[in-house]
Amino acid sequence: MSGNPLVQLLDANLNSGRNRAILRFLLGRAATAIRYVFPARATACYSGLVIGFALTFIPIAKNLPARFTFMMTLAGAGLVAVSAHELDELQDDIDEAKEQKERDRQLRLFADTEAKNKVAETNLLRHGYELDKSLPPELQQLVAPADAEPVRAPAASRAAFDAAVSATQTKQQQNERGEQQSQQAVPSTTVPALPMTNTVARSAAPFPETMQHIAQRLVSMTVVGVPGAGKGMFVSNLLRLVRQHHPQLHLFVMEGKGDQKEAGYWQGVANDIRSIQGLDESPVNIVAWINGCLEDFKAITGPKLLIFDEVTYLYKVWEKTEKESFEAYIQYKIGLSSMGDSLQSFVWEIGQVSNAKDLGVSAGIRSLFKPIAIVSNHDRRAANALLGTQFVPLPEDGKKAVMQMCDLSPCGRAVYDYVNDCWQPMPQLPNLSGFDRDTRSFSQKPPAPEAESQPDIRADLERLLSVETPEPSRAVKRFGLTAEQITEVQKRLSSLQPGAISSVKRIRENSRLLREQGITQADLTELFDYLTQTQAIVWLGSDQRDFKYLGGF
């Protein structure tokens, strides 16, 4: 017998039935104990470990043949390696499960706290105090003041009361303003005393005051609204207020609709109005136009505000056509949102949808711009779609409350603003475009300048071109240019608003056709000379580079 104690321990006579029974009993007890302490996976791992050690040690201790011992040692080592690895994995899983459990606990705690805060806030707003929730419900009712529950008048009498108040206030308003009502001023009391059924709206400042605040304290923002909701009307009114507060601010409007009926929104207030009929232009032209406008905007020194209208369509076209410049703009926009205050540069985006993806950005970047949302009860389906996004929060009562506010508004609209962080009925604002989209009719005073007084340059040019024989258009030469090139210049000029300042260089660079056909600024001189003679444009300097577009196209 070996002197090694381990060998002595394992030197049992396995031929003895008694010894085998003892060994079987001990192994069984050990397995039961292991299974009791550890789950099945751990049992398997520990069993593998024990067997591996046994396979390795027993042949050596029993002085079995070297070849057999060697094979058994390798097999035992392999089993130990696998078991150890599995145990490691098991511990990883256990640790991960613990971490997950802790995370879930933290989330539950956070959700509970949020829910409790919300309940407390609701109670505070509804009852004027926070109920002590540690008290039993019976005691809570006892301590609650008798008028804790809002007393609601019957619907019919309440509506009649509201109507009477509205009528009285409107009458007072008309008396006060009389005939001297200025179109520049935003009416401060055109909203009747609306019954504030929503607790959130109750604490909000009146919307005209909010507009004053927005105009005074400029930030970059996104104005979103369903089609025909009145985004243009709101922004145009806001711009008049901005002009009052910031006379030196350069207002740069980029308008992608090109609708003459809405030109009045910007005329008389914006320093620079760039317009394009987005639907009629090719994507390449649209992108060239945007890039040209943005270059001009960036070149402006001093405080400036870019109003970018119809961004939903323009961004989509831009992103699909020239992603690089679009991403560069997004970066510029992000920079303005964070540093705009110190640089005195701001961007207002006006669009129809609020999905970050449709605006070409992530939700995080979208949130950098302050939100303003307008919905109308003329298109409840579109309004519901907008309210379904996470662009702006909903009141406690949800979409229904917003639609109720629309019904209460004299113009059938509700507006969310970032200042009050709540929805409220939209007051009646002056329509500066001269075209009422609700009734599809022009107002009595068309704001757009008279077109008749302008020379009909388009007809003049077309007449000049029409005398040519039906040769290919490229062969026609007038002013040293082909008909196609002249038409292109016409198109570029027609995208400008009367009074806008541009340059020959910009006209050329914004046109892909002129650039591709190698037309230089000098080549355009004769045509622009003709345009000055016909008073379509007027040169701003003797160098004949920059001009002011007088209209006519």
């Binding site: 520990y46 050596i60 002085n63 070297a66 070849r67 060697f70 390696a81 150890a84 145990l87 256990i94």
Partner: protein, 98 residues
Amino acid sequence: MSHRLVSKFGYYSLAGFAGSALVQLAVIWPQTWVAVAALGVLALLYFAFLIVCIQGVLQGERWAGVLNFNVLGVDAIESTAIMLLFVVGGLWTCLEIL
């Protein structure tokens, strides 16, 4: 106490199995004794180096502080344990089967 500790012990015991298997291989194939002897010398050098380092650290020698020894990607204590297990496994097998 967790499964991790047992797992580590299982991994380290592989060093003992390796030492044992090397000796068994040398019994079957005598030329392997050269490798056993070489590894034995390396183990001795390792322990000598370890002792010198420990003495240097105890005496506050600056050179000892910057010395770092690493075996199989583990730190000093673990690599020492691995070497020990390797030597013990080989020695015990030698004692048993020779």
